[in-house]
């Protein structure tokens, strides 16, 4: 993909760099637009489930609500708490936002259409999502506020805990695909929905989806910002664009996790049936991301928040033993059936 555009630009090192920059823009710009509409979709879905109308004033059907909110935040005053650690206070939202964008570099949109086609793609996504905790813990510490600090600490423990079982789920997928390259993992699931990973690895898919919710601090695991006890957790002291960056980062991460679920378990860019292949691959991936985003909203609208000790119990005492066992189990089954080379 990069080489192809580089040729059009005339070849050479400079053209190569410009080609990469172009592709980065081609991914980030639609992504930010998608994040704005994801917030709108989220609010509309909760509203529908609670028999309300949701945002319906700004623009047709309230479609421009997110942009109005963004403009409002942009025009607000940036308040810096006097006891805060200023440098870290501002690095934290930037870090959250940047990391949420970084993960998209390795998502394959179609056969060969991936910005960074690296061998360790899936480990890269895991690494980037494990870095996400720093934005939150730094925000919590630098704010110099009890609520923010408690939120940051909760988040650190929560994200580290769920990453472990997520890693084991990913190991089962890697075993069958035989590679950590995301494109190869998708190509392994070619040819109709009955070849997709979620059929054979259904328990792993469920664990992955729930861990993804915990990893992105989505309800029912939104303890870092539990408004009933911590006001807004690590976001308490933030205002204006710093707050907006946290929001963009959070939704960027949620969409990334939806994309990862689609890539790992639902055949990425492939169509479920052969006769639907006339619809291009990137559109299929987009549909799948939308479907999982709906599931995320659905869960938020219907499930009450977990208590902290229950959250830790689910991560360490339920998911970790199950996923550990599943790695051994699937390795055995795969070897017995000759599915693992």
């Amino acid at each position: 993909m990069v080489e192809w555009l580089s040729e059009i630009y005339g070849g050479g090192e400079f053209a190569y760099a410009m080609s990469i920059l172009t592709w980065i823009l081609a991914i980030i710009a639609p992504l930010l637009l998608a994040v704005a509409f994801a917030v709108y979709a989220d609010r509309k879905i909760w509203a529908a489930m609670q028999l309300r109308r949701g945002p319906n004033v700004v623009g047709p059907f309230g479609l421009l609500q997110s942009f109005a909110d963004g403009l409002k935040l942009f025009l607000k005053e940036t308040i810096i708490p006097s006891g805060s650690n200023k440098a870290i206070f501002f690095i934290a939202p930037m870090l959250t936002f940047t990391l949420a964008m970084l993960g998209w570099a390795v998502i394959p949109w179609d056969a060969g259409a991936v910005l960074a086609d690296i061998n360790v793609g899936i480990l890269y996504v895991l690494a980037i999502s494990s870095l996400g905790v720093y934005g939150i813990i730094m925000a919590g510490w630098a704010s110099n506020s009890r609520y923010a600090f408690l939120g940051g600490l909760r988040s650190a423990a929560q994200m580290v805990s769920y990453e472990v079982s997520m890693g084991f789920v990913i190991v089962t997928v890697i075993m069958f695909a035989g590679s950590t390259n995301l494109s190869v993992i998708v190509e392994h699931q070619a040819g109709g929905f009955w070849n997709w990973n979620f059929i054979g690895l259904f328990p792993m898919f469920v664990i992955f989806l729930i861990s993804a919710m915990a990893e992105t601090n989505r309800p029912p695991f939104d303890l870092p910002e539990a408004e009933a006890e911590l006001v807004a957790g690590y976001q308490v002291e933030y205002s204006s664009m710093a707050f907006a960056l946290f929001w963009l980062g959070e939704y960027g991460n949620i969409l990334l996790m939806c994309a990862m679920t689609a890539v790992l378990f639902f055949g990425g860019w492939y169509a479920p049936f052969g006769f639907l292949e006339f619809i291009p691959g990137p559109l299929w991936l987009f549909f799948k991301i939308c479907a999982f985003f709906f599931v995320f909203s659905w869960v938020k609208a219907t499930v009450p928040r977990y208590r902290y000790d229950q959250l830790m119990r689910l991560g360490w005492k339920v998911f970790l033993p199950i996923s550990l066992f599943a790695v051994v189990f699937y390795a055995g089954v795969g070897l017995a059936l000759g599915l693992i080379g």
């Binding site: 090192e13 650690n85 870290i88 690296i118 061998n119 360790v120 480990l123 890269y124 895991l126 690494a127 494990s130 870095l131 905790v133 720093y134 813990i137 730094m138 510490w141 600090f149 600490l153 650190a156 423990a157 994200m159 580290v160 990453e163 890693g167 590679s179 950590t180 000790d309 229950q310 119990r313």
Partner: protein, 202 residues
């Protein structure tokens, strides 16, 4: 200068600077954050060497898990800076000794003094093979070094058991939630329906 060399000098200079700031920063939380920056730049150097698997594992394990717990503990501690500075002169001789040893070692390495000259020549550039990092590592670890691999696994297990033994304490009178009990509970165990006559009570 090629892009790779430029990237190498950028990452390595940031790594050295942030490693220096780890010991120079006044605030311990800043120290930990600089340490994380050092880890991250070391991972980038691994990438330049072609060791992509090691780079990712460094970020996932050290930056993503170990350093988070480090930061966690340092943030919770209430550190008295004045008290911390008092011990400085006391530990200066031993610190200087360690620094000297490391310096001598570095001079040996840079001074081209080698135990086995052929080893350095062989490992100067990453081998160009069709095998990916993970396959290459796996093919060596599970065949040639399988005993060392098993031994390190055993050491990790012992360390894990040890840390659990050291921190486990049984307390009485703690209210615990028994999930199995809650799931097993049925309406007929919890509710008793009684016919109450008017004006009599139970």
């Amino acid at each position: 200068m090629s892009w790779t060399a430029l990237a190498f000098y950028m990452f390595s200079s940031i790594a050295v600077l942030s490693a220096f700031m780890v010991i120079a920063a006044r605030n311990p939380v800043h120290s930990v954050l600089y340490l994380i920056l050092t880890f991250f730049n070391a991972a980038a150097l691994f990438l330049l060497l072609g060791a992509e698997f090691l780079a990712m594992i460094l970020v996932i394990v050290y930056v993503g898990a170990v350093a988070v717990l480090f930061l966690f503990v340092v943030m919770m501690l209430n550190i008295n800076y004045v008290e911390m500075r008092e011990g400085f002169l006391h530990y200066l001789p031993i610190g200087a000794l360690i620094a000297l040893i490391v310096l001598v070692e570095l001079v040996f390495v840079l001074g081209a003094w080698t135990l086995a000259p052929e080893v350095v020549v062989a490992s100067a550039a990453p081998p160009v093979t069709e095998m990916s990092n993970i396959a290459a590592l796996g093919s060596v670890i599970f065949t040639q070094y399988v005993y060392a691999f098993q031994a390190s696994g055993m050491i990790l297990l012992v360390a894990m058991v040890g840390s659990i033994v050291l921190t486990l304490r049984q307390r009485d009178g703690v209210k615990k939630q028994n999930i199995a009990d809650q799931v097993r509970r049925r309406a007929k165990d919890a509710i008793e329906i009684k016919k109450v006559n008017v004006g009599e009570g139970i």
